[in-house]
């Protein structure tokens, strides 16, 4: 009797949890699928389901020079910000990763703080600083601003990779007469490289997608893609944006697939 009752109780629990989990997973994935489908519409509106299918909006995208211009700016700024983040972030991660010093803990908190603080407030602050010192907004100010909010991802992932490193490997290398630089190049770097790549990838994506900092640090000459899209969407619901979204979704899926192969991205983000 009681065994039967407990089974029913257990089943109710499993059913409820599984159903909510499946609803949540559908909720997460559905919007991207909807955009993909709508982007192939043959009509003029974002009606779902579309009245028919065509590639006309992708063709339209081909001629949208404003979007091309903004995309190129975003790509260049993201590449520079990622490069700068790697150089500064990896060096900093090496210094603070195994250090028991209080200063290392404080620096760690400082380097992570852009992740929690409202980026819009930082964007305004950076604009005020640059106008105070007489530096006009330019790709340079964008790269600086983006680096501040992107470098935490590189620091965090590099520190995580360094934490997995066996100290005995470095000791053996030293005992065998290798210099520190040689040990770094031949032992440390190859072992932490996937962590650096994963961090750099996330930094790149978050720079490419950044709005709050770009909002203050760009002007018409340095239009950025997410802001161009946002302003287009504020004005009118253009189906060209759906096609562009389709391109971005497919590119993201492709890059995540590559990163999963190269760095085991999914394991890194759940450990």
């Amino acid at each position: 009797m009681s065994g039967r009752k407990r089974t029913l109780e257990a089943v109710s629990f499993e059913v409820v949890m599984t159903v909510i989990a499946l609803i949540a997973l559908i909720l997460i994935i559905a919007p991207s699928l909807v955009v993909l489908i709508v982007s192939f519409t043959s009509g003029f509106s974002l009606k779902f389901p579309p009245p028919g299918y065509s590639l006309r909006w992708y063709a339209e995208l081909w001629n949208a020079w404003q979007l091309h211009f903004a995309a190129r700016n975003s790509l260049l700024v993201a590449l520079w910000a990622t490069g700068l983040s790697i150089v500064l972030g990896v060096a900093a991660a090496l210094a603070i990763s195994r250090s028991p010093k209080l200063s290392a803990r404080l620096l760690d908190s400082l380097f992570m703080s852009p992740l929690v603080l409202p980026a819009l407030a930082f964007g305004l602050a950076a604009l005020m600083l640059f106008s105070f010192v007489g530096l006009p907004v330019s790709p340079l100010t964008l790269v600086i601003g983006h680096t501040v909010v992107c470098v935490p991802y590189v620091v965090r992932n590099t520190i995580a990779a360094l934490a997995q490193l066996e100290p005995t490997l470095l000791e053996s290398s030293a005992v065998l007469g290798a210099s520190r630089l040689y040990t770094f190049r031949r032992i440390v770097l190859p072992l932490i490289r996937p962590g650096i790549i994963a961090g750099a990838f996330i930094a790149f994506m978050s720079s490419f997608d950044n709005v709050p900092v770009s909002l203050f640090l760009r002007d018409a000459a340095t239009d950025m893609l997410p802001i161009r899209m946002w302003q287009d969407l504020e004005g009118k619901l253009d189906v060209t944006i759906a096609a562009l979204s389709g391109v971005l979704i497919i590119a993201t899926v492709a890059m995540v697939a590559v990163m999963e192969r190269v760095t085991g991205l999914s394991r890194r983000l759940t450990n």
């Binding site: 997460i28 994935i29 409202p118 305004l124 602050a125 950076a126 000791e171 969407l233 759940t270």
Partner: protein, 287 residues
């Protein structure tokens, strides 16, 4: 852990390597924020007259206070939705095979890396007058005229919950993975039902993950400028848009600075409450 301090010189690097980034942060992160604070403490745009005028203005203005209140409330609603939906995902993750685990992680991860504008745009398509929900309800004959879903609090909460869901789910998956599965079995074999085991064993032990997830989700939800402004529309004003309007459209930098500082402090207060709870819960989990 605490072995062989003598080997420290070969296994760790000097603090000097952190100097370039520390300097970079000092000049381009700390200095701007200090300047923001400095300007917020002035009553005029030029920054000549010290005073608390900007803060007094904000704190005595019912409109400003309502914007702050609705922003903090929005964060709480989104966090709650994310927790209720995200926890079962993490639970399911622990019970399936490695192949399905990778699929679940990638489903959770993809939105995190997809452009926020794209994800928000998707919700415009779904919630719009001709969107899926209205089209489905109309074709089923449940409603005659399209429902207003865009530009409502409901729309903003559901869109933000989807956009921020990964930030909740990933720490939960990590936390649930650290719980000894034997505890679950022990609780069940001692006669506690699944629901009771969940609420008395699994949930308390996963509190560090819950708190980490809530902190990230909350901080991200209240600062999500794009989703708030596109789904909320003109009628609903939250702190990020308020800040942007004052700074950009009205060029009132001192007041915008004060809004920034108040917003910063609000976020910091929430984060530190969560962090304190997290520290307490770790003690509880270890006991």
């Amino acid at each position: 852990m605490g072995t062989a301090p003598a080997s420290r010189d070969v296994t760790s690097y000097g603090m000097g390597l952190a100097a370039p980034l520390a300097l970079f942060f000092l000049v381009f992160f700390v200095a701007p924020l200090l300047q923001l604070l400095w300007l917020s403490l002035h009553n005029d745009t030029a920054g000549l007259h010290w005073g608390l005028g900007q803060y007094l203005h904000f704190l005595t203005d019912p409109f400003s206070l309502s914007v702050l209140g609705s922003t903090l409330l929005l964060g709480a609603e989104v966090t709650l939705v994310c927790l209720v939906l995200g926890f079962p995902i993490a639970w399911l993750y622990q019970r399936v095979g490695p192949r399905l685990q990778t699929i679940i992680i990638l489903i959770v991860l993809l939105p995190l890396l997809t452009s926020v504008v794209v994800r928000t745009f998707a919700w415009i398509v779904i919630l719009g007058r001709q969107g899926i929900i209205n089209a489905t309800l109309q074709s089923l004959g449940i409603i005659d005229t399209p429902l207003r879903l865009l530009y409502t609090q409901f729309g903003v909460v559901i869109a933000l919950a989807q956009v921020q869901m990964p930030l909740m789910t990933l720490p939960l998956i990590t936390a649930l993975g650290r719980i000894d599965p034997n505890l679950d079995d022990a609780s069940c074999s001692l006669g506690a039902g699944s629901w009771r085991t969940f609420f008395r064993i699994v949930l308390p032990l996963s509190l560090p993950g819950v708190i980490a997830g809530c902190t990230l989700t909350y901080a991200a939800a209240i600062t999500a400028f794009i989703t708030q402004s596109l789904i909320g529309g003109g009628q609903m004003l939250f702190m990020p848009m308020y800040l942007y309007q004052q700074a950009s459209t009205l060029q009132n930098w001192p007041f915008a600075s004060a809004i920034s500082i108040i917003f910063l402090l609000a976020v910091l207060a929430v984060v530190s409450v969560f962090t304190t709870l997290g520290r307490l819960s770790r003690g509880y989990g270890g006991a």
